[in-house]
């Protein structure tokens, strides 16, 4: 009951999903997928989101209670979460309300700045790779520099052949390496999925009884 039934659900349900990919039959496409799986999965999804919300809130509550390092900042987490949630639930999600104002003027600028910070850290990573002075790192950096320069007007000023060289890098060696990796990923993914379907891989059920 504790482990066998969930395991059977995955094994039997997984096999039905395998048939779903192959069979156009009404029972499997309409009855199983549209009338059974999709509505059930959608009805369960909000609880999974709620689990995440409760889990994160409990983590920050424990941090405040234990006065863990930087515990004071957890209040900002709760402030942001509570104000946004109340703004959405009470004021609605339409444009012009507090909810969308917070998204446009707080969440969006902060998240895009956070991603743009990576430009600096990637530049520093490139510098460290260059200092390693290995042939592999040099090839990686040369390919990166050619691809980067080809996308800006300066690249064309340096050499009018640069965009063609960049396109060749993307179309030939890049394609070959990505295809080789994709084939490996595909084989690995099929093997892992088969292990799950056959009940060999059970780590998703967690520990305990």
């Amino acid at each position: 009951m504790k482990k066998t039934v969930p395991l059977l659900i995955v094994m039997i349900g997984g096999l039905i999903w395998v048939f779903w990919a192959f069979s156009p039959h009404k029972i499997i496409q309409d009855d199983f997928y549209y009338k059974f799986y999709l509505p059930w999965a959608r009805a369960m999804a909000p609880f999974a989101a709620l689990l995440g919300v409760i889990s994160l809130s409990m983590m920050h509550t424990a941090k405040i209670r234990r006065k863990a390092p930087k515990w004071q900042y957890s209040f900002f987490f709760f402030a942001g979460f509570i104000v946004t949630a109340l703004a959405g639930f009470i004021g609605g999600t339409q444009k012009g309300g507090l909810f969308m104002w917070m998204f446009e003027n707080m969440q969006m600028p902060m998240s895009s700045t956070m991603f743009s910070l990576l430009a600096f850290y990637m530049a520093s990573a490139a510098y460290k790779a260059f200092r390693a002075r290995s042939a592999e790192a040099t090839v990686l950096l040369v390919a990166a520099i050619v691809v980067m320069l080809a996308q800006v007007p300066l690249g064309v000023k340096i050499s009018r052949h640069l965009p063609d060289i960049s396109q060749w890098i993307l179309d030939v060696p890049n394609l070959a390496s990505k295809r080789g990796i994709a084939l490996g990923v595909g084989l690995g993914s099929v093997a892992t999925t088969l292990k799950i379907l056959l009940g060999i891989e059970r780590s998703y059920l967690g520990g305990g009884d």
């Binding site: 504790k2 059930w40 009805a43 999974a48 030939v172 890049n174 390496s177 080789g180 595909g186 998703y204």
Partner: protein
């Protein structure tokens, strides 16, 4: 001060708070980071409620009286049993239900990652580029085959795969850096034009 300028100033303040991390970790960055997580979580919760819970659970179950949906609702509640040590095993049921979908990934992964890629790799080698692609694909695949030692002529051929991958990773690195730089340009344009430009 107009409302638009006030909104831009709020955006600029938080943008500068995040940028301050370039100097070193500091209270402004920590505050903005936690606020970002909180706002994102609140945003996600509200959207999940309005776009998933109401149309796919509340309306069909309460308004249209599709009583069968009580079963997934109870199963969804089982997720929350994770917090109870004695009943945490119940959370395996909704997890198992969502794991069923991996069955579809057997044929779909096989199609997308293996069959389509193999079909595209096995075209007639009519040009030198197609030859290079073919050799590169085989060499990269063999690079990850560890049942045979990478020594001798075989090892040298497998090494070719490593060089192909270095070029591929370099290209991906370059494209990612350019994407990040375009975001950086966007933020700087916002600060220069929308904030400092409006203040002048």
């Amino acid at each position: 001060m107009s409302f638009e300028l006030f909104s831009n100033l709020v955006g600029a303040f938080f943008t500068l708070c995040i940028f301050s991390f370039l100097y070193k970790d500091n209270p402004f960055y920590q505050m903005a980071e936690q606020l970002l997580v909180g706002i994102s979580l609140g945003y996600g919760l509200v959207l999940t409620y309005t776009r998933v819970f109401i149309p796919f659970m509340y309306q069909p179950l309460i308004l249209k009286q599709q009583w069968m949906l009580i079963i997934p609702s109870i199963m969804g509640l089982f997720y929350l049993m994770r917090f109870n040590r004695k009943l945490s095993w119940l959370s395996r049921y909704p997890i198992a239900f969502s794991m069923m979908g991996v069955g579809a990934s057997v044929p779909l992964s096989m199609h997308t990652f293996i069959l389509v890629q193999m079909r595209q790799a096995m075209v007639p080698i009519e040009t030198f580029n197609l030859f290079l692609i073919f050799i590169g694909t085989i060499a990269v695949l063999l690079y990850f085959f560890f049942s045979k030692a990478h020594t001798g002529v075989y090892g040298k051929f497998v090494d070719v795969g490593k060089w192909y991958m270095m070029i591929g990773f370099g290209a991906s690195f370059g494209l990612t850096v350019m994407a990040r730089i375009s975001l950086l340009i966007g933020r700087i344009q916002f600060l220069v034009n929308d904030v400092f430009g409006a203040i002048k």
